[in-house]
Amino acid sequence: MDSLASIREFITGLLEMKGVPSDVSDTEPLLPTGLIDSLDVVQTVLFLEQNYGVDFSVRPFNPDDFESIESIHRLVE
């Protein structure tokens, strides 16, 4: 599975777990619309650290990076 598909599956799983509609497009805003919250960002950070070795302590944390599936994917590219 490529990284974009893997991130999409992860985010869909998060949304399903919260009981909110999970059929989001890759560019749909997640944070500004409240689909995901800060705890979901934490889960996503853990997912990216564990699976793609993204180190957030060496790059300034920017919530914009978690705006959509596409922007999250840019972190691992």
């Binding site: 009981g19 805003p29 500004p32 619309t33 409240g34 934490v42 650290e49 300034p60 919530p63």
Partner: protein, 492 residues
């Protein structure tokens, strides 16, 4: 299920009409009527600003700046009463009045705060990669505490001392607004400082809150209506939210009548209710407990529960009005309070009850801590970051917000007077942290009896009891609040 306010934003014809010039005028007229029903005397000014923003969406940010500056001038969000009192106590009130005059003194203090914020913003943009500006919020907070220490302990002349305190009072009001501006520096499409200023206590924030609603310029850019259709839907949602706030205000009046007074007072009308609970006020019951003549245990419960629910209602109405004006201005902001009574976990209530305050703590305390510390210990990492936000950040915010204590008691004594709130913050931080750990991997079944009924009752009971320690009166020792807690148990 009964729908009190129809989903107008989903009605094609309503949205189409709202896009037209006549539709925009009608929307704002109906909105203004809602503000009148809500008893907001500033409805004419807001309506004019909103009309301009509706018809000139390309100049939305410039109009926001103009509206905000107008609001500063006409409805000052600053605590000048505190500064005047300090000047009188120091014996320099007459001096200031005769030399500069109070209006000019106030204008100069506000201007100096604006210049300070502008310089700090520019310094962060210029030297953001080198210490100390690479951690600008930390530098700002440490510098602010340093200036408080100078004002408290250095032997300054009375005029200098009062001027410094005035500067600190106004700057204290803007710390978190400036913090969101500093955040925007990282954005590629950031605004210059002059436009950032429009987001500093924007005109839709009628009260003196220090929590930026809704966040700062970067967030507003993301939620701004991009075209006429989005603007129409956003404004209709703003209208709905305002009228929901009107309904909640009626509910609040009814609740106050049923709980406390036996009279329903709404607008200029007054009705006697056939029955009411005659609940005592929290302060009364606490006062009796302090005096050694505690009321019965059920009176303690009644006072506590009544205050808790009235505060939820107050906060919801207050936030809904602000967000409704913000939406009318063309920003798709989320509600500040969203169905808190449905919260199935302690962490969820924290998210639903006071969203923008929680966001402030998450943005400036949780994320930076989580990204830096205990990376190899995931559970400790989560709890520690939560403590940094809900505990440390929460207490720090309130410490700066309740500036009158610092001005009256000095830095150290004011800190000591916060011990009960420190306990509250620590307990809240631990509880939210544990709640997050517990629910990290749990799949939510929104329809189960546990999620719909039992869990919300437990969560509300927790916050209700915890609210004993969230008393704005900081003069009592912690033991009095524990005594109140004990009095909730029959026989103790």
């Amino acid at each position: 299920m009964i729908t009190l306010i129809p989903p107008l934003d989903r009605y094609e014809r309503v949205v189409t009409f709202s896009r037209t010039p006549a539709g925009r005028i009608v929307l704002i007229a109906v909105f203004a009527a809602g503000l009148v029903l809500h008893g907001r005397g500033w409805w004419p000014e807001v309506s004019v600003i909103l009309l301009l923003m509706s018809f000139l969406p390309h100049y939305r940010r410039q109009l926001l700046l103009v509206g905000t500056l107008y609001w500063w001038w006409q409805h000052t969000p600053f605590n000048w009463a505190l500064i005047t009192r300090m000047a009188r106590n120091e014996g320099v009130a007459e001096n200031i009045s005769q030399s500069l005059g109070w209006p000019l003194f106030q204008a100069l203090v506000v201007a100096s705060v604006v210049v300070f914020c502008g310089l700090f913003y520019a310094a962060t943009a210029r030297w953001g990669n080198t210490a100390p500006m690479n951690r600008p919020l930390r530098t700002l907070l440490v510098g602010y505490v340093g200036m408080l220490a100078v004002a408290t302990w250095l032997p300054l002349s009375p005029t200098v001392e009062v001027t410094l305190w005035a500067f600190l009072v106004i700057l204290g009001r803007y710390i978190w607004f400036l913090a969101y501006s500093l955040w925007d520096i990282r954005s590629k499409d950031r605004f210059p400082f002059m436009l950032q200023l429009g987001h500093y206590h924007p005109f839709w924030m009628g009260s003196m809150s220090s929590v930026p609603f809704p966040k700062g310029a970067a967030y507003l850019r993301k939620i701004e209506a991009k075209d006429a259709s989005e603007l129409a839907v956003t404004q209709i949602k703003g209208l709905k939210l305002l009228y929901w706030a009107v309904l909640l205000t009626i509910l609040q009046a009814l609740a106050a009548g049923l709980l406390y007074t036996g009279t329903l007072r709404i607008w200029d009308w007054s009705f006697s209710l056939p029955l009411f609970l005659d609940a005592p006020r929290f302060a009364e019951v606490l006062g009796s407990s302090v005096a050694g003549t505690p009321a019965a245990w059920h009176q303690h419960w009644l006072a506590l529960i009544a205050r808790f629910f009235m505060e939820i209602l107050n906060l919801a109405i207050w936030g809904h009005v602000m967000i409704s004006v913000c939406r009318m201005a063309g920003f798709r902001a989320l509600r500040n309070t969203y169905k808190p009574l449905r919260s199935a976990t302690i962490a969820e209530f924290w998210n639903r009850y006071y969203y923008y305050f929680k966001e402030l703590l998450v943005d400036f305390f949780f994320y930076p801590t989580f990204m830096r510390y205990f990376k190899r210990m995931p559970r400790l990492r989560l709890v520690f970051a939560t403590m940094a936000a809900a505990g440390f950040g929460n207490v720090l915010y309130h410490f700066f917000r309740d500036f009158s204590y610092i001005a009256r008691l000095g830095l150290w004594e004011a800190f000591i007077s916060f011990k009960v709130y420190l306990f509250y913050g620590a307990l809240l931080g631990v509880a939210i942290g544990l709640s997050q750990l517990r629910n990290r991997t749990r799949r939510t079944d929104r329809d189960s009896l546990r999620t719909r009924i039992l869990a919300p009752i437990s969560v509300l009971a927790f916050y209700c009891v915890l609210s004993i320690f969230d008393d704005p009166d900081r003069s009592l020792p912690a033991i009095e609040y524990f005594r109140f807690l004990m009095h909730l148990v029959p026989g103790l």
